[in-house]
């Protein structure tokens, strides 16, 4: 079969049964080899093996959860990697190690957005696990924030405001997010009000070099206060204790 090995990395070593005593750890899967498209994840979606595996359809097409009964589970799986071991039937993104959720591979992110309403598909609909769905939403928000470009085969023949066709969008760019029509603000733009213009300086500062508050500088206390203090501490004050402090120029 032409599905290459990257899809289901089968563990070739014999399965070790998990032991339940606390001294031994549960055996984890051997660490997966890093994908060759680690640096440039968008190249994988142009490559031959992607085309052979998925064709024209989205990545999540045809994926089904395994469950008992006729009704599938109405909540998505939490994660496809439980304690280091991969679950059977991993979700469409976790099962292919070359599909990396990154804000730069616009084509992959586009497959998880509804082409009609611009809303991200619910993870039950696409079948991906909650962890990947969270990373996917963050990547989509980041890509929309950056205004990511689409891939080089840009179709110039259609005007940019023609309605798109599903999944064969002439330019699979990510910014089909709805730009709200904000009416032009009708306010006074002259900026004359004191809140945004200049206020006249405080009356205390009419002359330059003056302090903001009069009590920042030394003020002569009232004579009654001076006399009171002298009477209180008369046993301790020197005889020639001055009324005003020495001027700062002396320091």
């Amino acid at each position: 079969c032409h599905c290459s090995d990257h899809i289901f990395d089968v563990i070739t070593s014999p399965q070790v049964l998990p032991r339940f005593c606390s001294t031994q750890e549960t055996p984890k899967d051997p660490p997966a080899a890093p994908s060759p498209y680690q640096e440039r994840p968008w190249e994988y979606l142009e490559s031959e093996e992607y085309r052979a595996t998925y064709g024209d359809r989205p990545v999540w097409h045809g994926y089904r959860r395994n469950h008992k009964g006729s009704v599938p589970p109405q909540s998505p799986r939490k994660a496809c990697l439980r304690r280091g071991r991969r679950v059977g039937n991993p979700c469409p993104i976790c099962r292919d190690r070359n599909l990396l959720v990154d804000f730069r591979n616009v084509k992959l992110l586009d497959q998880f957005i509804c082409p009609h309403s611009g809303v991200i598909f619910h993870p039950i609909h696409t079948g991906i696990c909650m962890k990947q769905h969270k990373r996917l939403s963050q990547a989509i928000a980041q890509a929309q924030d950056h205004g990511k470009p689409q891939t080089p085969n840009f179709n110039h023949s259609q005007p940019c405001w023609a309605s798109p066709k599903p999944f064969n969008l002439p330019f699979p760019g990510l910014l089909w997010l709805q730009v709200p029509f904000v009416p032009v603000p009708e306010e006074d733009f002259s900026n004359q009000h004191a809140a945004v213009g200049k206020t006249p300086p405080a009356p205390a500062l009419r002359e330059p070099g003056q302090a903001w508050y009069p009590w920042y500088e030394w003020q002569q206390p009232p004579a009654a206060e001076v006399a009171r203090m002298r009477r209180l501490y008369r046993g301790f004050l020197k005889e020639d204790y001055p009324d005003t402090p020495p001027s700062p120029s002396g320091k």
Partner: protein, 278 residues
């Protein structure tokens, strides 16, 4: 000159799939509906204001040296009374060194967005308004979307708004994509920018190629109103020219791309001649 293409103004937005809605109308009802649609389109096509950059605010209200060293962070005090316009709202900042100053324009915008959020505006502007990212967006021909987002995000007199708009207009003029903005509310701003910098040639050629002679004459009249001291304006006033003659005078005296405009005019006249003959 903006043009009123109803199909473009009311183009389908992405809202969700609903089955199509059909209405049976008489001629009178159809005319009534078209008239209403035209009025609604006119409100959507109101040009946003073109303003100069705002003066930065640097006003110190108080300097309390006594507070120096007591705090480690700035405090921002915002007046949250509901019924004041945002431009009259007092927003002051107390620095850790005791200075009480008025908040700068960027701080004001951030605070007002936090307390009185406006639809479509984010507290921190999206990265796509940075210069390097704007180029990628222009490659996708999304100038109109960028300008709409800019109006939603920034105030009309902020430096970012003016910078983004100038970059967009320059990119449009470089590649000649004037039709992208026709029948949108940004067309007027673009025409103003180009005419104030005397770069009207590309737009003129585009208009003549699309057989919009009336628009071309109004463009030249606006140019004369903006630059009344130029030669073609004086000649036009003396001789009271109209229509194609006005364009020819402009081409002879003011334009840089004379050859192209002459060619376009010739092609237009030939087309007119053949269509009137047949």
């Amino acid at each position: 000159m903006t043009g009123l293409d109803l199909h473009k103004v009311f183009r389908p937005e992405k809202k969700g799939l609903k089955p199509p809605h059909y209405k049976l109308m008489t001629e009178a009802q159809l005319e009534e509906a078209t008239r209403k649609a035209i009025e609604e389109a006119k409100t959507k096509l109101i040009m946003p204001p073109v303003l100069n950059e705002r003066e930065p605010i640097d006003d110190v209200l108080a300097e309390d040296k006594i507070l120096e060293g007591t705090e480690t962070a700035k405090y921002v005090f915002t007046d949250l009374s509901y019924s004041i316009p945002h431009r009259e709202r007092f927003i002051v900042v107390r620095e850790p060194n005791g200075v009480l100053r008025k908040a700068t324009w960027e701080e004001r915008d951030r605070m007002i967005q936090i307390f009185f959020p406006k639809e479509g505006r984010r507290v921190i502007p999206p990265t796509l308004f940075k210069d390097e990212k704007l180029g990628t967006v222009f490659q996708q021909d999304r100038h109109e979307d960028v300008l709409n987002m800019c109006i939603a995000q920034f105030e009309p007199d902020s430096p970012d708004y003016i910078r983004v708009h100038h970059r967009t207009y320059e990119d449009i003029e470089k590649h000649g994509k004037y039709d992208l903005l026709r029948s949108t509310r940004h067309f007027g701003g673009m025409v103003w920018y180009l005419l104030s910098r005397k770069k009207a040639d590309g737009l003129l050629i585009d208009m003549i190629n699309r057989d919009l002679l009336d628009d071309a004459t109004s463009l030249i009249t606006l140019y004369h109103m903006l630059h009344p001291e130029c030669q073609s304006a004086k000649e036009a006033k003396e001789q009271k020219l109209e229509g194609v003659d006005l364009i020819k005078v402009f081409v002879k005296t003011e334009s840089q791309r004379e050859g192209y405009i002459q060619l376009a005019l010739q092609a237009y006249e030939e087309a007119m001649a053949t269509s009137s003959a047949s």
